[in-house]
């Protein structure tokens, strides 16, 4: 089967847009992505929209009402924080199958304020009785599980936030663009030990979109800025005795990573940069190991030695990550691909990862889904 290419990709700045609709935000990103490759909404043959809070509103169709109601097939995709990457993957499958030459994938979100998670309670509230179902606490537990096995420290987890906030100072589309020294991260309000407030991703609004085309179409339009999709992997959570009371983000990520590396015919050592799902600082360290970036149990020392900072061995989340750039749930997956594409095209400005040829993106949607994509400059 022939390859699928990202021909156009873009994102809105992440922020707070109380006066804008899902359709307006998603439509703006769609037009930006189409403009990025010189195509028109009239060229789009099929469209997928990834969103969590906008899914009941049929946001995909509403986006088409903003940019051109051509009557093409539109499907709304909900997969928690993996919604955007899942919509992208549906578009990839549509083109890969040979049924379509031009597909549009949009991820869009207006995220509610406050802590996410919980719900599904009957009779009496269960929060604070059977532990916590809040996202900061759930991911804190994943962190202390790692700490119990390998001795990972609060300080090592906190260093993730220092690094990602630093990266974001070079990204004009990031919600936060500020330095946060280690003392500030560790001294911030403790939400759920070991995650302080600065170690929790920011609930923001935003959208990202990608135009995917067949090899035939890419050659016709020119490959100069095209990105080849080397792998598209999506997995659901396998059995684990602690699941679902303690969602297992590790096994599902490992399965997706294994599938992606096999599809691409390469390994972690071939990857030049990674955008991974740092919904909480604790999570990023786990994913170093889950994605094979470092050896088992070595995530702590790996961040200590600066391996994942810009200029390090394998830069991770140079966009600022979910922690600083922000995490509009449904938009995150495609925004990660936008970041990697910028680097592969040598268009990332001050935060450019020099000589980047291959990049990997990763998301986790709790409940649980994980998507891993491997991208390469065509």
């Amino acid at each position: 089967m022939s390859d699928v290419y990202i021909l156009g990709i873009d994102m809105t700045p992440f922020g707070r847009y109380p006066d804008r609709t899902f359709a307006q935000l998603g439509g703006e990103a769609a037009l930006m992505a189409l403009d990025d490759c010189g195509l028109s909404p009239l060229d789009v043959q099929i469209m997928y929209c990834g969103t969590v809070f906008g899914a009941y509103e049929m946001s995909g169709q509403a986006i088409m009402r903003e940019i051109g109601q051509t009557g093409v097939p539109v499907t709304n995709v909900v997969n928690a924080c993996a919604s955007g990457a899942s919509a992208f993957r549906e578009a990839w499958l549509a083109v890969k199958s040979g049924a379509y030459d031009v597909a549009l994938a949009v991820g869009v979100e207006k995220t509610p304020r406050g802590m996410l998670g919980g719900g599904g309670e009957t009779g009496i509230p269960l929060e604070g009785l059977f532990g916590s179902a809040s996202m900061p606490a759930v991911f804190a537990e994943s962190g202390t599980q790692h700490a119990a096995k390998y001795g990972t420290t609060f300080e090592q987890f906190a260093k993730v936030s220092v690094k990602n906030h630093h990266h974001s100072t070079m990204n004009p589309k990031s919600f936060y663009q500020m330095e946060t020294p280690l003392e500030q991260v560790m001294g911030a309000e403790m939400i759920a030990y070991p995650n302080t407030k600065l170690m929790c991703s920011v609930n923001v609004d935003g959208a990202a979109a990608a135009v995917l085309v067949s090899e035939k179409k890419a050659r016709e339009l020119g490959l100069s800025r095209a990105i080849r999709v080397r792998a598209s992997a999506l997995q659901s959570d396998p059995w684990n005795p602690t699941n679902p009371m303690m969602p297992d983000v590790n096994s599902v990520t490992r399965m997706a990573a294994k599938s992606a590396y096999e599809q691409a015919g390469l390994g972690p050592k071939d990857v030049n940069l990674v955008e991974l799902h740092d919904c909480f600082a604790t999570a990023e360290l786990l994913h170093y190991e889950n994605l094979g970036l470092c050896a088992e149990g070595m995530a702590g020392p790996f961040i200590d030695e600066g391996a994942t900072a810009l200029g390090g061995k394998i830069p991770v989340n140079v966009s600022g990550g979910l922690l600083s750039k922000g995490h509009p749930l449904g938009a995150t997956g495609i925004a990660n691909m936008y970041e990697v594409s910028l680097h592969l095209r040598q268009e990332a400005g001050a935060r450019q990862v020099q000589g980047a040829k291959i990049g990997l993106t990763h998301v986790v949607g709790l409940g649980t889904a994980s998507a891993v994509h491997v991208l390469e400059k065509a």
Binding site: G123, I124, A147, Y193
Partner: protein
């Protein structure tokens, strides 16, 4: 006095009204589950489950000291994942170990205790039975 309600469906009451944890053990692979399913999530067998009385001792596998929760939920509390000695994994508050990380040694032994669900009542004013973990005294 009215019988209290179970705050989780795997809390059952024996003939004397004493609460216990009912685990579901897969007849094919032995996987231990807190709830029954149509088929076993571990092996997909449809042989069904044996309802067994779970052990009430286990070890701490993960925790978080929760300082901020949803509006109206009192903090701090410790959220803990525990693997009971027969393999069933449950999540509940861990009480009696303080609120400092030093209080939570990896794999520390804990014991499950039933409680009055922090005195929480439903809209009809009914009382509930919940459970918590406590450090086990050797």
């Amino acid at each position: 006095m009215e019988t209290p309600q179970a705050a989780k469906s795997h809390i059952k009451f024996d003939a004397d009204g004493k609460p216990y944890i009912e685990a579901q053990r897969c007849r094919a692979c032995g996987a231990m589950l807190a709830e029954p399913h149509l088929a076993c999530p571990a092996c997909a067998s449809r042989k069904g489950f044996d309802a067994i009385r779970a052990k009430e001792t286990g070890r701490l596998i993960a925790y978080s000291i929760v300082k901020r929760s949803y509006p109206g939920i009192q903090t701090p509390f410790v959220s803990a994942m525990v693997e009971l000695d027969d393999g069933l994994a449950l999540k509940a508050n861990l009480v009696g170990a303080g609120f400092e990380p030093e209080g939570f040694a990896p794999n520390m032994k804990v014991r499950l205790r039933f409680n009055d669900a922090l005195g929480r009542k439903d809209k009809e004013g009914r009382a509930y039975v919940g459970y918590e973990f406590q450090p086990a005294v050797n």
